[in-house]
């Protein structure tokens, strides 16, 4: 159990690191690019750095939102249900979402393998393309895992939970 907790803390940190780090890296590289262009210095690779960051940010961010249960959904109808039925509905939704996310992770893995076997590299920085695609299996795997954890949490505890954890107030 101790090991799982350590692993969980690691993933939580990893997700937050990727999500905030990507934003900072994108900002920095676009700003440097602007300055360099004004000074007529050629600065290559901004586009590829940004593409890499955006993809990782999106899929790991999806996992982070799943962990905290903040994904956008239409809860209007659901909120009209009495509490007990609502709980059942949330369990079904989370279970389907979780299992399907695991399937998406499997598709992402297939895709990564397909790209890996072609051995493509990016045009300017010569980074293997599959580094980008790797974000999908990892992101969806964690997403699926967190939704299933939300199911467990709803089954075990009283009350309604959309995510595996409660949202931390950031600002």
């Amino acid at each position: 159990m101790k090991f799982l907790q350590v692993l969980d803390r690691f993933f939580s940190r990893f997700e937050k690191f990727v999500v905030s780090g990507s934003i900072l890296l994108i900002s920095a590289s676009v700003m440097i690019n602007v300055i360099c262009r004004q000074l007529q210095i050629v600065f290559v690779g901004t586009e590829e750095v940004c593409e890499f960051c955006i993809v990782w940010l999106t899929f790991l961010g999806t996992a982070l939102c799943a962990r905290q249960g903040t994904h956008i959904s239409m809860s209007a109808l659901l909120n009209k249900f009495p509490k007990q039925q609502k709980k059942i509905a949330i369990i079904i939704i989370s279970a389907v979402t979780g299992l399907f996310s695991l399937f998406l992770a499997y598709l992402g893995l297939q895709l990564t393998q397909a790209v890996l076997s072609r051995g493509q590299v990016s045009p300017t920085l010569r980074v293997p393309i599959w580094y980008i695609y790797m974000a999908t299996p990892i992101g969806f795997l964690l997403t699926g895992f967190y939704y299933l954890r939300a199911v467990m949490r709803n089954l075990k505890e009283e009350g309604l939970y959309l995510g595996a954890e409660d949202v931390e107030e950031i600002l």
């Binding site: 990507s22 994108i26 900002s27 955006i54 940010l57 961010g61 999806t62 939102c65 950031i170």
Partner: protein, 426 residues
């Protein structure tokens, strides 16, 4: 297949599934059932290619800049400035709300960010002055629509990327419509305030106005950088977004000194989370739109429509209607990505300017996201102001009516959108 997709989509929607599942689950099933020879992982690849074009990078950058300003002092100084400027008129505080949304819209480009940034500043002030709660919320939600039209705008960036239209031209095209919409809301507020006998506050002294202007120098400089920079051709929209982040950090950290260096990763995390929420939908919608292309749905729509031999106005009218209805139910960005490719061939064949179409679709998207039953801004407002749904939607209709009026005006008079982009240097 289309019926299967639509049915599945509405089922998931009604049941309250997360939006990204609504985009992926029907697409994956439909592809497997109806087009088994195409590897299913192609959908994941489409999702990735939906979020990786370079101009899309402007979206997280503008979100980041807006978050920095909201956390810092700029948005507050802005509302203060607007209040000093127009606060003494009938319905003054309401005008100040619209005006700050317009200026803040020149920074953020996202309705939710504007609701949060402007709304939380003006909400208590409006209530204190005797404005009714549901009017106030209706005003704040709809005033934030203006932010989508005034550049930079996330909807314009996405529309520009999927249609290959110049984002700079779209940005310029949105200015006049945005200002018109703002004026429309102000006129309605004026009548409302007169009917409900809101007491007027005395005019601010000239000195106070000047002081507020000086204090608002930071946020106002922003407008110059973004609109001026893109307009003069110094910046591409993405570069303007980078400059916006740099500028807001500079002002907030070095000049106002509210934000510290160690706060930045926290703000970036917040912006990153917002971006991921939006982008997983962009990716999903891209996969969805691709599936429709595989099934030749755009061709079917084009043939069916052109067979009717319609006038351009009739087509635009119909597109408005389809978008308006779709947006009552779906997330605006997904709707833009899925629906635009269906109509683009028709409008191109009829010689409708894609920039004009972009303005109409964006205004629709903004209005639709404030329209009951499921407009996303309504739920944002419920969350931010902690008010029940019934209170929030009670006085939305007059504003939506004003919005529809502006929409029709823009539909019939393309020049309102197209005059400024023509002045852009090539």
């Amino acid at each position: 297949m289309v019926i299967f997709l639509a049915g599945f989509l509405f089922f998931l929607l009604a049941f309250g599934f997360p939006m990204f599942i609504m985009m992926f689950l029907p697409t994956v099933s439909a592809l497997t059932i109806f087009h088994g020879h195409i590897p299913t992982f192609t959908l994941v690849q489409r999702a990735i290619s939906g979020i990786s074009p370079f101009p899309v990078v402007a979206v997280p950058l503008f979100i980041f800049a807006a978050d920095i300003m909201t956390k810092g002092q700029m948005s507050q100084r802005l509302t203060n400035f607007a209040e000093k400027l127009v606060g003494h008129l009938t319905g003054g505080m309401a005008h100040a709300t619209v005006l700050s949304s317009m200026i803040f819209g020149a920074v953020s480009g996202s309705t939710q960010a504007t609701v949060a940034a402007v709304g939380s500043n003006v909400y208590p002030a409006l209530l204190r002055r005797g404005y009714r709660e549901s009017f106030v919320i209706g005003l704040i939600i709809n005033a934030s629509d203006v932010a989508q039209l005034i550049p930079p705008s996330i909807f314009f960036i996405i529309y520009g990327v999927i249609t290959g239209t110049s984002i700079a031209a779209l940005f310029m095209a949105g200015i006049i419509p945005g200002v018109l919409l703002g004026i429309g809301f102000m006129i309605y507020s004026w009548f409302w305030a007169r009917k409900n006998e809101i007491t007027r506050t005395p005019r601010s002294k000239l000195l106070d106005v000047l002081r507020a202007t000086k204090e608002a120098f930071g946020p106002l400089g922003f407008v110059v950088i973004i609109i001026g920079g893109i307009y003069s051709g110094i910046f591409s929209p993405t570069e303007a977004a980078g400059a916006a982040v740099g500028y807001s950090l500079l002002i907030e950290i070095l000049v106002y000194r509210i934000i510290k260096f160690k706060d930045i990763p926290q703000i970036a995390l917040r912006s990153g989370t917002t971006t991921a929420l939006v982008f997983i939908l962009v990716g999903g919608a891209e996969a969805f739109a691709w599936l429709l292309t595989i099934a030749r749905v755009p061709q079917m729509v084009t043939q069916a429509l052109l067979a009717l031999n319609p006038s351009p106005i009739a087509v635009l009218f119909m597109i408005n209607l389809v978008f308006f209805i779709a947006l009552m139910f779906f997330n605006p960005i997904s709707a833009i990505i899925v629906l635009t490719p269906l109509f683009l061939p028709v409008t191109t064949a009829l010689g409708i300017d894609p920039v004009h179409l972009g303005v109409l679709i964006t205004l629709n998207a903004a209005l639709g996201s404030a329209t009951p039953p499921f407009g996303v801004d309504i739920f944002t407002a419920c969350a931010i102001f902690r008010r029940p749904y019934q209170v929030v939607v009670k006085e939305l209709w007059p504003f939506i009516f004003v919005g529809v009026f502006v929409l029709l005006l823009l539909t019939f008079v393309p020049d309102l959108s197209l005059v400024l982009p023509r002045l852009l240097p090539h």
